[in-house]
């Protein structure tokens, strides 16, 4: 039942500013992912929202309450940590109920909530075990359960899946997504450096780098219309192809030129009037290049092929330029084959070479 609002917040460690006057609004019931490389300040921001770190300036609002000076336990939040942080000397039941016991909740209410959380996460048969008798995936389920029983309005996840192996990570990711649907009124803030986690879970993603929010938008926004070079390169796997070049004014309209290659940009949604002669970087998603289609860029040969089953990742090169192309896995493609590449100008992204912002 709560929005989360971060207003002009500064956090500093010993006079080093971790971030400066940062603002962010999370809507009620939304799952917002803070995505960024390590050291970008995303976990620090989460800790500030949780009240585990003091802010130097600004305010934090949860719902219609200013919680800037409140203790973590009084903010109506629950948190899940990367290292699970289960209490090692308590069994699972003790871990789940610790917060409720601290809050002097009646015994039957505790039992009811623990049973409910345990059945939601399929950990009923583990209630009497100690954390060191659980596997990593089970531990993280218990940690999520500990957050669930608190019945909090806001859930904070601090890289909850980073310590798990790939298969468990997928499994628990689905579990968290399901949880988010079931607890439709609960606001969730989720920190990760994994862009696939971010894309699959988020209602909106805030991409952070260098202590700043680079772009805030829906996953598809970020994917198709990245606001700058960093976001374009960070989101999406395999990575977006980048080609350095200049903007030109051809007879038919603006065009991109890199050496002997040209790409007319009619139909490209410019965010500002194109300036001919400007140095730019062209970004093309691997799946937006057609092999042997309407080949407007020819003279490539296949360098290597990485089969993924459903897809093939094909590296094509013309000697100078190397582009990665995603294509159907059923096409028989071998290294050395000549290729013409079809690039749709409506689906590329154009960035200023200097500064990296979207044009």
């Amino acid at each position: 039942m709560s929005t989360v609002s971060v207003r002009d917040v500064t956090v500093a460690f010993e006079s080093v500013r971790v971030f400066d006057r940062l603002s962010l609004d999370v809507e009620q019931g939304e799952l917002l992912v803070l995505l960024g490389p390590s050291g970008c300040g995303k976990s620090t921001l989460l800790n500030a929202i949780a009240g585990l770190l003091e802010v130097e300036t600004g305010q934090i609002w949860i719902g219609d309450r200013n919680v800037t000076w409140d203790e973590p336990k009084d903010r109506g939040i629950a948190m899940v940590f990367q290292s699970y942080a289960l209490y090692p000397r308590m069994n699972v039941r003790g871990n789940l109920s610790f917060g409720l016991r601290m809050a002097k909740t009646p015994k039957d209410e505790i039992d009811r909530r623990v049973a409910q959380a345990a059945s939601m996460l399929h950990i009923e048969q583990l209630l009497d075990r100690r954390p060191d008798q659980l596997s990593g995936g089970q531990r993280q389920r218990v940690a999520i359960g500990r957050a669930l029983v608190r019945d909090a309005a806001v859930f904070l996840f601090d890289e909850p899946l980073s310590n798990l192996d790939a298969q468990l990570r997928n499994e628990l990711r689905d579990e968290i997504k399901r949880l988010h649907h079931r607890l439709a009124a609960t606001t969730m803030i989720y920190v990760t450096h994994d862009q696939i986690e971010a894309m699959t879970l988020a209602d909106r993603i805030a991409v952070m780098k260098d202590q700043k929010i680079q772009q805030l938008g829906t996953p598809l926004d970020l994917y198709y219309r990245p606001a700058n070079l960093f976001v374009a390169g960070f989101v999406g796997s395999p990575r977006m192809n980048f080609v350095e070049g200049t903007l030109e004014q051809a007879e038919t309209g603006p065009a991109f030129a890199a050496g002997k290659r040209h790409l007319p940009l009619d139909g490209y949604p410019f965010t500002r009037p194109p300036e001919p002669g400007r140095a730019v970087t062209l970004g093309i998603r691997p799946e937006h290049i057609a092999l042997n289609g309407a080949g407007n860029w020819d003279g490539f040969t296949v360098d290597i092929v990485e089969p993924l089953g459903a897809d093939n990742l094909v590296w094509c090169t013309d000697g100078g330029l190397s582009l990665e192309v995603r294509t159907s896995g059923e096409q028989a493609i071998r290294p050395g084959m000549p290729m013409a590449l079809g690039i749709d100008p409506r689906r590329v992204s154009l960035f200023a070479a200097e500064g990296g912002e979207r044009l």
Binding site: N47, A50, L52, E71, P72, K73, I77, A78, M79, F81, Q82, S83, A85, L86, Y87, P88, R89, F98, G99, M102, A103, R146, R150, D158
Partner: protein
């Protein structure tokens, strides 16, 4: 013929080096065990047999009379109640000193590692420096201070002295242990609504078993073996066992009763000995854990 191919477990050979190592270890063990052996032998001999001077000979007529005498009849100056008086004094000093010094050390370590105490680093450094200043420097100022507060020559006084002198090493031990625990655990407990005391008592202390055992060993042996602090601060009524032992051995009228002295010495050494034997494994483990993580 084919040479033996390496397969399976590699054969071990007895080398001269190995024999040397074992010889050295054996010699060292003998060196330390021999005095104990002689003490035990002498304590069960009669004075007549001791006078013969064969200190390594087995007792011809074993008797436990010297042990009984040492425990309940040996004289320290005018009183002849044996060393049992000192034993019970030491127990009375030991129990509150050990419990309180460990609790305070653990609490200090917890506060210094998890709560953002203003000037925590400086505080900790000062505490550590305290551990390296020789006791003797403190003796006289503390005597003056204690007599001002009226606790000089009292049980309270000696317990406070032991707590204060134990604090640096106890704090160091627990601070290093708590610093090695993930901070997220503490954060989780804070979100769950634990305060300063609840997190300490319900989350941190139950996890500290290995460190608690190490601390008990260090403090029990240290406080039991103390001589100078007990002599200075405890007062005549509360003199610990070590001081009483010294008085028994040194207050001689007529012939020196070697067997009684030996029995009294072994009795005094019994508590630390039992602690080492009972917990040697834990002790090494705790020290090693502190060394790797600290």
């Amino acid at each position: 013929m084919t040479a033996a191919e390496p397969a399976g477990r590699r054969p071990r050979h007895v080398t001269w080096g190995r024999i040397g190592v074992y010889a050295f270890l054996l010699a060292s063990a003998l060196f330390f065990l021999l005095p104990l052996w002689i003490m035990l032998l002498t304590s069960v001999k009669t004075m007549d047999e001791i006078r013969l001077g064969n200190i390594l000979a087995l007792p011809a007529d074993p008797t436990f009379q010297p042990w009984i005498a040492a425990w309940s009849e040996a004289c320290t100056g005018l009183a002849c109640d044996g060393i049992q008086v000192g034993f019970w004094n030491s127990v009375r000093i030991l129990i509150p000193s050990v419990i309180l010094s460990i609790l305070i050390g653990a609490l200090n370590g917890y506060a210094l590692s998890f709560w953002r105490v203003r000037g925590a680093e400086v505080l900790f450094a000062v505490l550590l420096i305290g551990a390296f200043i020789p006791y003797q420097v403190f003796l006289y100022p503390l005597v003056r201070l204690f007599s001002v507060f009226g606790i000089y020559n009292s049980l309270t006084g000696i317990v406070i002295v032991h707590i204060v002198f134990g604090m640096p090493i106890m704090t160091l031990l627990f601070r290093n242990f708590y610093s090695s625990l993930p901070r997220e655990l503490f954060n989780a407990a804070r979100i769950d609504g634990g305060g300063f005391a609840t997190i300490f008592l319900r989350v941190m202390l139950p996890m500290s078993t290995p460190m608690l055992i190490v601390a008990v060993i260090l403090q029990v042996t240290g406080i039991w073996n103390d001589f100078i602090l007990g002599l200075t601060f405890a007062g005549r009524e509360n003199l610990p066992m070590t001081v009483q032992l010294n008085n028994i051995v040194n207050s001689v009228q007529g012939e020196r009763a070697y067997n009684v002295d030996m029995a009294a010495t072994v009795l005094t050494a019994l508590v630390p000995l039992v602690v080492y034997f009972a917990s040697g494994r834990w002790f090494v483990r705790g020290i090693a854990a502190g060394a790797v993580k600290g």
